[in-house]
């Protein structure tokens, strides 16, 4: 069957698409960094306010010491100089110092980020696969009872926020029928006989958080696939393909499905952002030790450097995924580069 598919070479316009991509992502990255840089500096007071205030317990009596401290933290320099300095330390991977935990923020994030990536990766993959197949199936049976039921159900699920879903799952599987682990990412102080047992334990702890996140991501994608496929069904090429007597599977996945792929990929990109946000909520419900739990504890202790760095790192993850997805559009749909 290969001969049916003449591969279209990428057009030279692909380079222009690359230029447009950079024109979006470079300013975005700079904006994110600038927000993080300006947030603490735009707020009233300054980080050493307590040292300057004679009424506070931390007041430093010696004016020379106060000036030295300001110089040490670079606060006596101009905003531009501070910004350059900040960019330099970012480039070195230095995200600051956690006030509450007295640890480099980079180390904290290194401990928490992998769990979030695992949770988001598993949920996005599951949600994408399920919603694509279900969307195709529903479009193929559009208007019938099964289609209407699933459209209503998923529209409803799409409206419910992640934390409400997660709490509902927690109630169902933790309080009503306690069958699954509710807390953390692995059994506390667990000893594993083999690596298989360890994987099994991590997987069991992943079930509820991943289920909550998957369910919250499935609705939008399902509706998109279903509607795109429905709109292709009446197209001439579909009628022709059917008239040629192509098997049903070919019609479904090669013709209708392929057309739904591009908007679907766009949505997967957009949803990476939602998935990361959702993971923050879901983790805070199940005490999953990812970025969500880190953020939750940082909020409690008002650990600003951790909150800023979390935003920076999560934004970097989302931007990277989006950039990668947009770069492969041209391969999925040769029309993109030409537009």
């Amino acid at each position: 069957m290969r001969h049916r598919w003449v591969r279209v070479r990428r057009r030279p316009g692909g380079r222009r698409a690359g230029g447009r991509l950079l024109a979006t992502y470079v300013p975005t990255v700079l904006l994110v960094i600038t927000i993080v840089f300006l947030l603490p500096r735009a707020m009233p007071g300054d980080p050493l306010a307590a040292l300057q205030d004679p009424a506070s317990g931390a007041f430093v009596d010696d004016a020379q010491t106060r000036a030295n401290l300001r110089a040490y933290y670079g606060l006596d320099r101009s905003l531009a100089a501070q910004y350059v300095n900040y960019l330099g330390s970012l480039a070195k991977g230095d995200l600051g110092w956690s006030i509450a935990r007295q640890e480099p923020v980079t180390a904290l994030i290194g401990k928490h980020l992998p769990w979030t990536l695992l949770l988001v990766g598993v949920s996005l993959t599951l949600a994408s696969g399920l919603s694509f197949v279900a969307g195709m199936a529903a479009a193929w049976r559009r208007g019938r009872r099964g289609d209407r039921t699933i459209v209503t159900a998923l529209t409803a699920l799409n409206a419910v926020p992640e934390y409400a879903l997660a709490v509902t799952l927690l109630i169902l599987f933790g309080l009503v029928m306690p069958v699954l682990p509710l807390y953390g990412a692995r059994t506390t102080f667990g000893e594993y006989g083999s690596w298989l047992a360890e994987v099994g334990d991590v997987a069991a702890h992943l079930v509820l958080p991943a289920a909550a996140l998957t369910i919250s991501l499935i609705g939008a994608k399902f509706l998109l696939v279903r509607n795109t496929v429905v709109s292709t069904l009446g197209q001439d090429y579909m009628v022709l393909a059917r008239a040629k007597g192509l098997p049903e599977r070919m019609l479904k996945y090669r013709h209708a499905g392929r057309n739904a792929l591009l908007p679907f990929l766009t949505l997967v990109g957009i949803q990476t952002g939602f998935a990361v946000s959702g993971a923050v909520f879901v983790e805070s419900v199940f005490a999953y030790p990812g970025m969500g739990s880190l953020i939750l504890s940082a909020v409690e202790t008002r650990d600003y450097p951790v909150l800023e760095a979390s935003f920076l790192v999560l934004a970097a993850v989302v931007l990277t995924v989006n950039f990668a997805l947009e770069s492969i559009y041209a391969r999925v749909d040769p029309r993109v580069g030409r537009a």
């Binding site: 529209t155 419910v160 959702g278 909020v299």
Partner: protein
Amino acid sequence: MSAVPGAVAVIRRRSGDRAARAMGAPQIVLGAGFVVLALLAGALAPYDPGAAAGEPLEAPSLAHLLGTNSVGQDLISQLLLGTRTSLFVAAFAGVGTILLGATVGLLAGWRGGLVDRVLMRVVDVVLVIPKLPLLIAVAAYAGARLWAIALIIAVTMWAPSARVLRSQVLSLRSRAHLRAAVGFGAGTSHVLRRHVVPELAPLLASGLVAACGHAIAIEAGLAFLGLGDPSRASWGATMRDALDFPGLAYTTAWTWWLLPPVAAICLVLLGLTFLGIRIERWTSPRLARHPGGASS
């Protein structure tokens, strides 16, 4: 025929319509009830939601209809006043989101050219930044004041509606009556106010409903993460208190402590979602429903 009906069936009816219509009716009652409850919450709530009004973990009784939490705060009062917080956020953040989104979208779509390119680049940039981590970082600094939270929500959430509205304005721009208006010398603001906005009213209305829903979900979410306004009751804060209570799983307290705020927020958001769909189908079957709109 096979499982795929012919092209005729596709033209005849976009499916899902009937399902949406069947889901429509109770929304209005629910919405009205929500607004009335929120406005009367101060009078209806029997206790101060922040004060210890009874013994810790009292089961529901006549004195405390939804019982009390671990520090003896009355839970029905928290639930009722949480309604008011949600309505406040829906009103200010929801309206703010649409105002910002509509201003940017209409200007970009109508003026085109450089204005369009610049504004849409801004939209692209805002769209890809993950919202929740940004909201958390900003809310942590801006302080937990409800109006500040509403403002932050509006400033971070406007981009998707700007994009949708812009594309609709683009399709309106070439219509004869709009070209005629311009021919008679109508300026940008006149055309937008007198012609474009009325034309897009259904889309603006359903966009507003969606924005209100997102605002409610985000406010409760921030409160759930501990970033809410501590001086006001919020469903999210009640949920967080319940989850933080170590003995929650050992008693039945969760049935009156954790369950009601979860149910309340689900009910309101479901109501708003189906209300939005209903408004769209109702007023204007012509405007295509935009799939995959933003959430949280």
